[in-house]
Amino acid sequence: MFSKIMVPVDLAHAASLDRALTCAAGLAGQYGAEIVYVGVTAQTPGSVAHTPAEYKSKLADFAAGQSGQHGITATSHMVESHDPAVDMDKALLKAVADTGADLVVMQSHKPGLSDYIFEGHGPYLSQHAKASVMLVRD
């Protein structure tokens, strides 16, 4: 049903993504799909990495860790962004196309007042991506 599952991850808050990660791994096992973990980083130093190159290697380590933990095939895909606070939606949308994923599994918060002002990344992707999108509530 699905052959490639994209899982957007925020490495700064990886610990809080547990439900989405477990869910994605379960689906990957069920359908024999490959998972690609997608991370978006700024080019300036941040809390996760000092340079995009360092971020890339941390993201690859993360994918390898998930692969070992869940027994799945996993790769990683980094997107550099000039202004990640704003361009996250477009960066993720582009990543769906670039990775050729047919399902996106991502963590999403419960809708609240702020969603009327700033639309969440999950709802944006589900509206605009060609792939199926599954939002896992935290």
């Binding site: 700064a12 700024a42 080019q43 300036t44 130093p45 941040g46 809390s47 000092h50 340079t51 190159a53 360092e54 000039h82 202004d83 990640p84 606070a85 704003v86 361009d87 609240g112 007042l113 702020s114 002002i117 700033f118």
Partner: protein, 577 residues
């Protein structure tokens, strides 16, 4: 194999040329929380202290307007007159240092490491650094400054020939030519190499320590070579707080004064009524009357709200979708106006001002930048030191912004494009706008609009429109000029909000969008509150004086940055040809 660095007689990098090893994790001092529906990710204590300081100073300017104006103006004048030598010598050092970087092997160090490549094209990059750097000043001073120097004796001792307008007739041709050249030389001096070198130093220090050394994108990072790990503590907090504070007040007071220029432009172009009767107005809001006491501050607040609203849209759309797009529109329109004035104005005389101005600049740069034994203290303190303090107090903002968009450039490319090319563009701008206006003064003498609004009466906000008024298609170009002034303010306001947000988030560029919205509205609100207060523009005056006084502090900061750049480049890999 002998490596290139040996061939060039420069020792190989000492120590690690990669990121600086520090236990400090970016964002470790940050507070991540929620206020209502809004997420926050702010540096403790930089965010809170700078916001509270802004509120306190605004309160002070409102409660005790006379006292605060007198005090801050006194501080500013003291700084300008007592530290003139410090400003001038430091600025000279920055120019020399930047020029040296171009010709030494350090010029081939690439910002972001040897693998990095620039993301922005030259036009986009150039548009952004120019719009943030001095766009608005060019609109305000392009006519004013050359004409003022041309037509008035400067300060105590005129440096060049005085323009002796006697009974409406301009003095002899040789004297006029000398005055014209000196006017261009002095203007170019204030808008050429020195300001851009100041910006280049800050931007280069920040870019180097952020992209190559892995430290957060805030002012304090450039102090790492000097302070080491202490930079994360009190001193670093103090530097960042003062930078955020100076940037916010610099933007807010400029916005306040800019609103008066926009109001004057709008009334000039679209207004009705008579200034003598006190009925001159723009859409019912009184403005531009002989007795200015009834002029509408509501109009100013509406203009500020309008500019802030557009800036808000821009910051929410982000760096690529908002700031870059607006900067490009801005530069396109500015180029249009420049080409129009060049063609419609006296093109040959403008070319003469460009080349003659450059030659006079080359001849006069040493006497003008020498602080010792000057007799023209009025010019020295009133213009040069004022400008140096102003550029320098503005430099944390502009430098941070330039750094943000310059990854992937080599140091040489960076300095050429941030120092030499903008300087040349400024010279051409000043030659076109100033040269046209000077030609109008010579042709029309006391009847020319420029003479009446710059020399006979000092109305700086009208000067540009007076010059355009004597060219063809004035009704179209004046509208274009008003639009340009507005967009230049928007591009300062939106890039400034991004910069303050980054500083107050401890160097994180991915802090929640609501924070930059806060800073953008805060800037507009500070400007509006100051204008609506009983003191009117006196409140703006006093706080702008205070901002300019911070130039003294930041001059010392910039000197440290030169040292930091030197240390930083010593330990970088130079690119192999």
């Amino acid at each position: 194999m002998a490596d290139e660095t040996v061939n060039q007689g420069i020792p190989a990098p000492e120590g690690a040329s990669d990121i600086i090893e520090t236990d400090y994790e970016i964002g470790q001092d940050n507070i991540e929380t929620r206020i209502g529906p809004f997420r926050l990710d702010i540096h403790n204590p930089v965010f809170v202290v700078s916001a509270v300081m802004v509120v306190l100073f605004v309160g002070l300017a409102l409660i005790a307007p006379e006292w605060s104006r007198d005090t801050f103006l006194a501080i500013r004048n003291y700084v300008k007159s007592q530290f003139d030598w410090f400003f001038l010598m430091s600025a000279n050092l920055f120019v020399v240092f930047a020029l040296i970087l171009i010709v030494t092997p350090w010029g081939s160090v690439r910002l972001g490491g040897s693998e990095a490549r620039p993301d922005y094209s030259y036009p986009a990059w150039f548009a952004m650094l120019f719009a943030a750097g001095m766009g608005i000043g060019l609109m305000f001073f392009g006519v004013l400054e050359p004409v003022y120097y041309f037509g008035t004796p400067w300060g105590d001792q005129p440096l060049g020939g005085e323009l002796g307008i006697v009974d409406g007739v301009v003095a002899d041709a040789a004297q006029v030519e000398a005055a014209r050249q000196m006017a261009m030389a002095a203007t170019i001096f204030h808008w050429g190499l020195h300001p851009w070198a100041i910006y280049a130093i800050v931007a280069l220090a920040l870019a180097l320590f952020s992209y190559n050394k892995g430290l957060p994108l805030t002012l304090r990072s450039a102090f790492y070579p000097l302070l080491g790990e202490r930079v994360w503590g009190f001193w670093g907090n103090a530097i960042d707080t003062i930078a955020a504070f100076a940037t916010l007040f610099g933007l807010a007071t400029s916005l306040g004064f800019g609103a008066t220029q926009v109001a004057s432009g709008l009334t000039e172009v679209f207004g009705s009524g008579s200034a003598e009767d006190g009925t001159r107005n723009f859409m019912g809001f009184l403005w531009g009357n002989a007795d200015a006491s009834n002029d509408s501050s509501v109009l100013l607040v509406l203009i500020i709200a309008f500019i802030t609203a557009i800036a808000l849209i821009s910051v929410v759309r982000g760096l690529d979708g908002g700031v870059k797009v607006l900067s490009e529109i801005n530069m396109g329109l500015a180029a249009l106006l420049l080409v129009f004035v060049f063609i419609a104005g006296p093109s040959i005389a403008i070319l003469g001002d460009f080349f003659g101005g450059l030659a006079a600049y080359a001849r006069e740069i040493v006497p003008l930048s020498n602080p010792v034994g000057r007799e023209d203290t009025g010019f020295l303190h009133g213009w040069t030191t004022f400008y140096w303090a102003w550029w320098i107090s503005w430099s944390p903002f502009v430098g941070m912004f330039i750094a943000r968009v310059s990854r992937g450039r080599t140091v040489r490319e960076f300095v050429v494009c941030v120092l030499l090319i903008p300087s040349l563009v400024c010279v051409f701008w000043m030659a076109t706008f100033g040269g046209t206006a000077i030609s109008q003064v010579i042709a029309g003498a006391t009847d020319s609009g420029v003479f009446q609004n710059v020399i006979a009466a000092y109305k700086p906000e009208i000067s540009l429109f007076a010059m355009l008024g004597e060219l063809p298609l004035a009704s179209i170009t004046s509208v274009l000029a008003v639009v340009l002034v507005i967009i230049f303010f928007v591009t300062s306001s939106d890039s400034g909000s991004l910069v303050i947000d980054t500083i107050t988030a401890g160097g994180k560029v991915d802090a929640p969008v609501s924070q930059r919205i806060f800073w953008c509205i805060f800037e507009g609100a500070v400007a509006a509150v100051l204008l609506l207060g009983a003191a009117g523009t006196a409140g703006l005056d006093s706080l702008q004086a205070m901002v300019i006084s911070t130039g003294l502090f930041f001059t010392a900061v910039l000197l440290v940055m030169c040292f930091a750049i030197f240390r930083g480049l010593m330990t970088e890999r130079r690119e192999m040809k």
